[in-house]
């Protein structure tokens, strides 16, 4: 087990390093230098510009630049965002937790819902209700995230004014609320964006999970359970489900990139001030360091997330627990 953990951790690090290298390649493929746009900013002088270039090694040979790049990243030094007039690292510190919150909430809600739906579908296989729900799930998956978000925006929010449709907090009142009040305020604002993402996650998870459960059902040990006198519920939930959980965790890990992509759209439409929206704005504002930082953060989140999923999945299977 320990060996597995080490190997998986090393693999994750290797991928992150590779992604950083990829980003480095991108920076240097781009025309001009990344700080050129910041020259438009009146507060930025030629001297500052030269200083930036030096800090990142642009006046030196390529290999040195690469090492400087890695070094800077490792130290958390991501450069300067001219569109926001702040250090990129500070922008990240603000936006990353918000995206984390959004994705976390969506993941938990979506996975639980998908799990329940998939299990129910496996238990009620063949019935018209199950088939209808399956078609519905596929239909939901065929709708691009931004459309679902727009629909969520148009209907419940605008027409029925149930939940706030933009931002993370009430701009006027938030600061004057108590701690609980503030938490509640954020939660209310979280509902629609996280709900949209959760809906899509649930649809995807339920499809995989249903297949996994259906693959489990003809297994011999399920027949053994029935021969012992177990009813449908016990056989399906106690026996088949337990075996399908391991692969489910891995699937969730594989869904992370898609979830992040969806978050970009959802954050933009609901004005949720996370990394996704930051990136879109940065692209519009030609703020290259910010864009790059966003990509790195996104990738790191995904890599760590899937490594975690792999580890959890292995832990869930007693067959793999024995070594170490």
């Amino acid at each position: 087990m320990r060996r597995f953990l080490l190997a998986r951790g090393a693999q994750a690090l290797a991928v992150i390093a590779l992604v950083a290298t990829l980003a480095f390649t991108l920076v240097h493929l781009a025309p001009g230098d990344p700080f050129a746009a910041s020259l438009d900013d009146p507060t930025n002088t030629a001297a500052l510009h030269a200083q930036q270039m030096h800090r990142w090694g642009y006046d030196q040979p390529l290999p040195v630049q690469y090492l400087k790049w890695l070094g800077n990243l490792a130290r958390g030094e991501f450069g300067w965002s001219h569109s926001r007039n702040r250090r990129v690292a500070d922008v990240l510190l603000e936006t990353v937790p918000r995206t984390f919150l959004l994705m976390g909430a969506a993941l938990v809600a979506g996975v639980l819902a998908g799990l329940a739906l998939g299990t129910w579908q496996a238990a009620r296989r063949g019935t018209p209700a199950e088939r209808a729900s399956g078609t519905l799930a596929t239909a939901v998956l065929s709708v691009p995230e931004f459309l679902v978000a727009l629909a969520a925006l148009a209907l419940p929010a605008a027409r029925w004014h149930l939940f706030p449709v933009s931002g993370i907090a009430d701009p006027a009142m938030h600061d004057s609320m108590s701690a609980i009040g503030r938490a509640w305020d954020v939660t209310r604002h979280l509902v629609l964006p996280a709900g949209t993402l959760a809906l899509l996650t649930a649809a995807g998870v339920s499809r995989y999970h249903r297949s996994a459960m259906l693959a489990m059902l003809p297994e011999e040990f399920v027949r053994t359970a029935r021969a012992k006198g177990a009813g449908e519920y016990t056989a399906v939930v106690r026996h088949a489900l337990r075996n399908a959980l391991g692969p489910l965790i891995t699937i969730v890990g594989l869904l992370l990139p898609t979830l992040f992509g969806g978050a970009v759209f959802v954050e933009t439409i609901f004005s949720w001030p996370g990394v996704g929206r930051m990136m879109v704005e940065a692209v519009g504002g030609n703020d290259y360091p910010l864009v790059l930082a966003g990509v790195l953060v996104g990738s790191v989140l995904v890599v760590l997330g899937s490594a975690l999923a792999d580890v959890l999945s292995a832990l869930a299977d007693p067959r793999l627990r024995i070594e170490a």
């Binding site: 290797a14 239909a139 990139p257 759209f265 879109v280 519009g284 996104g298």
Partner: protein
């Protein structure tokens, strides 16, 4: 399956015959105020948008762009992915290891983010540029599948037999291994379409894809993004177009996958 294919064919026909069937010029902006933001009616079955353009015509022309971009981009991605995956799978060794690590890295970056970075470095793109962008970011998935397939096929008896008779490696590859990839590629390609169409739409929606006034289903919707409740027709109709095509493509792709996958297994 047949229904899905029919739907798809319908969209393709509409796209190809756009100039013939669109009632209005999609770019025409008659400067009259009265034509703005009209809900669906006899004259404008899909209504008009905020620039007084007929939405139906825009959706019809948009089909050309959205479908065209997706199809060409997928073909590009398939070709790249198949080439790289096949080489990696067949050659094995270090080539294989390096290629697959790069694939891992690319797959770890959410595709949307990758596209954003690339758009940031190149600036606003032409339609051709978008195709290249989508194609160049879509190959990792295919290459992994192809590599796996090639590694299996490499050990098949008929391949070994061919090599045993002294056939040069490249011939073995082209004549025996490549044909075995076709079914898998067909399925992958079809399902990839279902991913790329919404991707292009999303990008255009954000203003980073197809630039107005050229119509793409995505950028038509972005016109009404501010208040989707008010001018719902500008969102609904292109949206429906996207959903229908994606559903159709998904259905066809899934059926194809069922056909080729359990070919040897019983389906009782």
């Amino acid at each position: 399956m047949k229904f899905a294919a029919a739907v798809l064919v319908l969209f393709v026909v509409v796209a190809v015959a756009a100039p013939a069937i669109a009632p209005h010029d999609p770019r025409a902006t008659p400067q009259s105020e009265t034509q703005k933001n009209l809900p669906p009616s006899g004259a404008h079955p899909f209504g008009t948008d905020q620039y007084s353009r007929d939405v139906l015509s825009r959706v019809i022309y948009g089909a050309r762009v959205s479908l065209g971009v997706a199809v060409v981009a997928v073909m590009l991605a398939l070709t790249l992915g198949a080439a790289i995956g096949a080489v990696a799978g067949y050659a094995g060794g270090w080539t294989d290891i390096i290629c697959m690590r790069v694939v891992d890295a690319m797959l770890s970056v959410p595709r949307v983010l990758l596209l954003l970075v690339l758009v940031a470095s190149t600036g606003p793109l032409t339609v051709g540029g978008i195709i290249v962008l989508l194609g160049c970011t879509g190959w990792p998935g295919t290459s992994r599948l192809v590599r796996g397939e090639v590694r299996l096929l490499k050990e098949r008896d008929y391949v070994l037999a061919s090599r045993a008779t002294g056939t040069p490696e490249w011939r073995v590859f082209v004549l025996h291994v490549l044909p075995g990839l076709v079914p898998q590629l067909l399925v992958t390609g079809t399902l990839a379409l279902a991913t790329v169409i919404p991707l292009e739409a999303g990008l255009s929606f954000l203003g980073l894809g197809v630039q107005p006034p050229t119509a793409s289903w995505g950028n038509i919707i972005s016109d009404a993004a501010g208040r989707p409740g008010d001018t719902w027709w500008v969102v609904l109709f292109p949206g429906l177009a996207i959903v229908c095509t994606v559903l159709a493509v998904n259905t066809i792709g899934e059926r194809l996958r069922e056909r080729i996958d359990p070919r040897g297994r019983s389906r009782a």
